[in-house]
């Protein structure tokens, strides 16, 4: 293949996926743009944004990859039920990872802000926001990933190429929207 052929093929393959994730990212941005009041009320919240968004991709992207490989190997069936031990374990582990690392990210963020001498909301406020957002976004993304991978597989699509774009597109929107919801809830309950 010449350079030109390689470049054209790579461009054509990636353009739709990137365009789709750009649309998802823009909508996530609109939610973030509307969060200016909450960002001002909770100092240090913005520090958490990249970490929480990346976590959604790392954890639930990995869940999608795991389910995709298991479908290919015939280890699991693409059926929605609570009887399959493997699917249950994969989903439980993803949720545990997603919620735990969100809490840890909040603790690390508060420590980092203290270290560089920048203002930060109380530890409990940021941890509560991160845990609630981590749990709710985890549930939503698990439903999205499992549905798309299973339904796609039943229709003859390769789950490996589906899981990535779904997680990158929905992950940002769900990640920011649940962060906004969790922040409002915690502020309403008197934290901050």
């Amino acid at each position: 293949m010449t350079v030109r052929e390689v470049a054209l093929e790579a461009y054509r393959e990636a353009l739709p996926v990137l365009a789709l994730s750009a649309v998802g990212g823009l909508f996530a941005g609109v939610v973030l743009g509307g969060m200016d009041a909450e960002l001002q009320d909770v100092a240090g919240l913005l520090v958490l944004v990249p970490a929480l968004l990346a976590t959604r991709g790392n954890v639930y992207g990995s869940l999608g990859a795991r389910l995709g490989s298991a479908l290919h190997q015939g280890l699991i069936d693409p059926r929605f039920s609570f009887d399959d031990d493997r699917i249950n374990a994969a989903v439980t582990a993803a949720l545990a990872n997603g919620v735990l690392i969100s809490g840890v990210a909040a603790v690390m963020a508060v420590a980092l802000l203290a270290l560089v001498g920048r203002p930060s909301a109380p530890l409990t406020t940021l941890v509560a926001i991160a845990l609630i957002a981590g749990f709710v976004s985890g549930l939503l993304l698990t439903i999205a990933v499992v549905s798309v991978v299973f339904v796609g597989y039943r229709r003859g699509l390769n789950p490996d190429t589906l899981a990535g774009p779904v997680v990158t597109t929905t992950g940002d929107v769900v990640g920011i929207a649940t962060l906004l919801g969790a922040t409002r809830l915690v502020l309403a309950l008197g934290g901050g």
């Binding site: 470049a7 941005g29 970490a51």
Partner: protein, 188 residues
């Protein structure tokens, strides 16, 4: 069998992934700190705030797609690390072309959405220019980071599938914020 059991047990999956997640979170908090330092500018011009998740996401995606293609070519024995390598050059050109195509549209989209929702304080061409400059720089950085990381994985005899994609995605996330910060400082 033991390996099989741990692959599909909750504690096995958590034990494997959690240390990696902590490292990646630490890297991402670095970019969060950069965001925090220019929070004032971002809150003053919400159309720039709208650009934050999409710039992070696109940077990570450009890197991860390139990394996935390098890994596959590498496994198939099709990749050599020479500047004259057709596959290396072709993929690098495609990455830059994708950034130059999509980032101006992303900038225009951010401006449009922010205008529809709550008015905007920045002119369209400023937002498009910030997006285009950040996107082009990010594409170049993504190419360098991906090539270096894939080469390092090859030298240390690690499977590029395991190592390169998470490293490249998260490093590009961080670079996304840093480059956006730089572009805003210079252009706004």
């Amino acid at each position: 069998m033991a390996e099989f059991a741990s692959q599909w047990s909750v504690s096995g999956i958590v034990r494997t992934m959690f240390p990696i997640l902590i490292v990646l979170t630490a890297i991402e908090l670095g970019s969060g700190l950069v965001l925090d330092t220019f929070e004032g500018t971002l809150l003053q011009y919400p159309s720039l705030l709208v650009l934050v998740p999409v710039t992070i996401g696109m940077a990570g995606n450009l890197g991860s797609i390139l990394a996935a293609r390098f890994s596959t070519a590498f496994h198939l024995g099709l990749l050599s690390f020479a500047a004259t390598d057709d596959r290396l050059a072709g993929n690098a050109i495609a990455t830059l072309a994708l950034a130059v195509t999509l980032f101006p549209l992303v900038g225009a989209g951010a401006w449009l959405l922010q205008t529809v929702i709550g008015g905007t304080a920045l002119p369209l061409r400023t937002v498009v220019l910030v997006a285009l400059v950040s996107g082009s720089l990010l594409a170049l950085l993504a190419i360098v980071v991906t090539t270096v990381t894939t080469y390092a994985a090859y030298r240390f005899e690690l499977d590029p599938d395991d190592v390169v994609i998470p490293v490249v995605t998260n490093v590009c996330d961080v670079l996304g914020v840093v480059v956006l910060f730089g572009a805003v400082r210079v252009l706004v």
